[in-house]
Symmetry: C3
């Protein structure tokens, strides 16, 4: 059971264009495209006539014509021309149109009850669109329950082993973490004071001297995780509440359920330093894609194991508190929906 | 649920030979082969001993010997020699033999109750075997419910979009159609009087001047569609009832269910002009195969969409009346069978 | 339903090494490896923390560290180090450890109730480890119910057709067989007195003259078959009870269920002649592998046919008595287990 009455990322702003894109979200096949004024459109991906996917159709202006018998559907899902053009269109001939909003570099969709779709509840991905920040990232189709990705991101101790060839280091496991859960928000904070900056952050900081380092994982219900990361010189006096004194980034992760055991994984990084360095942006995206692919391999193996071992249950250790709390929020949202 | 008490095309006359051919029909695995006198044989494709497919067996005269332990089965499905040859064969050792008849260039099979198999009820595919006509065609395995193919063929308005690169034209959608249903017969007639012949028919007619053109789709229950097509000069006075004054063809379509969502599709065209032009026959078969492959792509996508959208229902417009009536006939036949 | 309270071959002694090997047995994913002292270990292939397969883990001494969060599991399945190393390990954090014993060139596993695992009940594969004998063989993954392989091996009359290009000959079918079933033991004996030795055995015997030949299939419940084969000069006076006067081999077959329709097939041959001829051993293994691959093709086709023809039942002839009796033993063992 999915939280259907919420906004999910349907795609990157760059993925959705005039040409129809098919993507199944929370079990529902959806076709996504843009109108000429660039407004994004999301319709159930099935012609109301004989159910051929509309994503196989022909764009005509802002409408889409089914490739089977030519029923013409407008961007509200209503049929506007019958196969026999002289016939009158009955208003019952329509396909579901989903509320779709473009914000913070993503196109968001509301799969559940449209009447409840309030754009002000779109998760606040502000670093993705703030002009003082630079943001880029990619997309992976991943064969696992989206909640396994949330577990993964709310506990960075896995970096030591999953990413031991890239970003993992034993120091992460040793730093204490603090988990806070209030309402639908869950935060896991790891503050590493007065340490030697690892190469990536030293190079970003461009300054010598001991640093304070932080990793603050924010769960944004039902299926996003934003991780506030960075370092600042100890002498700069950064705190958990205020830490813009050094270099700072946000790792952005939006997971959208496709079905029970497959998901769409949208990932990226926003940063507030060297924001005009396009080469840095591209190199970082490539590196981050490689690291996240290591997670994909682990998460897909974990999903297979869950299916092969139906009598075994996941166990939660102290490091899993963030994920456990996030799943409690999801469970409450699902229960409230029913 | 299939109409089992009826004749289905099991294969082209050229597909079935001495060598055993495996084909699943209405969910039942069948092995097909010919005796030396060319009589076709259809047996359940499972040795009565340990169920190894007989289609893996060794032909011995008109019999087939199982490749596992050597049980010898005759063309009536009876075992005639045990693995230990000195042992007596009990008459209970046998496999189901299906009534099989070769007619009109196809081998027909009766999957249901053999006692009811009357060859006089084989659909009348006379243009396929009439010496004044020439007939050829091909076979596609198609991953869809056979009824989706019937819908497709009983409504040629899809040609405009599905075959827009080949035979489609908007004129087809504009011509009125008339649907007649009497008993188990359903006919959809599109009569286009006094028009300019399209290139294919002009070249077949070899005469200048305005023509009458027709497309008359005949549903032959439970799973064939024959389409009477052609043109005649307006001055020749063709009518819906009599139209042999020009050039005429029959598009032949026999769909045999494999299982609930896959089918065997036998297609071809019979014509009464240039009947000795083997080059024309071969070129037309190649062209027709390309057009039908366009249908296969659409129909398989439609089937996938039906499975992915279990809560959505097919809608019927005026153009679908022929298919709707054909499905009513099928539903009545299934109900009568139970 | 499997006989779980019994020993199954988990792997060849040469397959299982320091490096973890994943193999599903009776539906349970298992990871197999060796300790430094070469003792084999079998654990449920799922980390007790988040179920990632332990077979993806990192060996550390005799322990295995999960590649996800680094939980360290010892060879008894107990966690000995938490991801956060300073945390205490609770004894409930453990994975199932299976009784595993190396004997007769194989590593055996007990999937059911460990308390009942008595190594003295491991099937007696003595020719595989007796110093006066030489033994080698291979492994196939086979997509069929393991009982189909038992049927196959308890009735060698299939050799005539399945192996007609290699070891099959009509003489086998004509020799009478005798089946004995006592308790959980089933034996099928085919004694061929005073015949001409086939080329393989003539070459092994290295003597001229008529021979007595035997094939004695022993079913070792629940899933092994050992076939005592060989020839001796008629003048040597071999009997069914005593036949070490000529050349003798044991065809070894151990089938381990993976799930309901797939199995692990461990096969080989032990012999008491030319035991130091490594070239003979290698050539024979290659030849035997080819012959058994012919069985694999038949058995997988039979399994597919069983699934496609759910209403049809296997029939038993006289030649099948050994397999029928073996299945009765299996059924009794399953019933006793419940």
């Amino acid at each position: 059971m999915f939280v259907k009455n919420h906004w999910y990322v349907a795609g990157w702003d760059y993925e959705i264009d005039q040409r129809p894109l098919a993507r199944t979200i929370c079990g529902e096949p959806v076709v996504l495209y843009r109108k000429f004024d660039r407004t994004p459109v999301g319709l159930r991906d099935a012609c109301p006539h004989r159910l051929l996917p509309l994503s196989m159709g022909i764009k005509e202006g802002d409408n889409i014509r089914c490739r089977y018998h030519g029923l013409l559907i407008d961007s509200d899902g209503a049929a506007v021309e019958m196969p026999v053009r002289s016939e009158r269109v009955h208003k019952s001939v329509c396909t579901k149109a989903y509320p779709v909003v473009e914000r913070h570099r993503f196109v968001w969709i509301w799969i559940g009850d449209s009447a409840l779709a309030d754009p002000s509840t779109i998760p606040d991905f502000w670093p993705c669109s703030d002009p003082k920040w630079t943001f880029d990232g990619g997309y992976y189709h991943i064969r696992c329950d989206y909640r396994l990705v949330i577990d993964n991101l709310m506990d960075l101790s896995h970096e030591t082993y999953v990413h031991q060839g890239s970003i993992g280091q034993h120091e992460i496991l040793n730093a204490p973490i603090e988990t806070n859960a209030t309402g639908n928000k869950v935060t896991v904070t790891r503050w590493m004071p007065n340490i030697d900056a690892p190469p990536f952050w030293r190079s970003a900081l461009k300054k010598q001297g001991p640093v304070d380092r932080w990793q603050i994982c924010h769960f944004l219900a039902p299926s996003s995780v934003i991780i506030d990361v960075g370092v600042a010189l100890v002498t700069a006096g950064a705190t958990i509440d205020e830490h813009d004194q050094g270099v700072r980034g946000f790792v952005i992760d939006a997971m959208t359920p496709e079905d029970e055991t497959t998901s769409h994984y949208f990932w990226g990084m926003a940063r507030n330093f060297d924001i005009d360095d396009a080469g840095f942006t591209a190199r970082f995206k490539q590196q981050q894609g490689g690291v996240f692919m290591e997670d994909v391999a682990i998460l897909e193996a974990q999903q297979r194991s869950l299916l092969l071992n139906p009598t075994l249950k996941l166990k939660a250790f102290s490091i899993d508190t963030g994920g456990v709390r996030a799943r409690q929020v999801i469970d409450r949202m699902v229960a409230a929906q029913e």
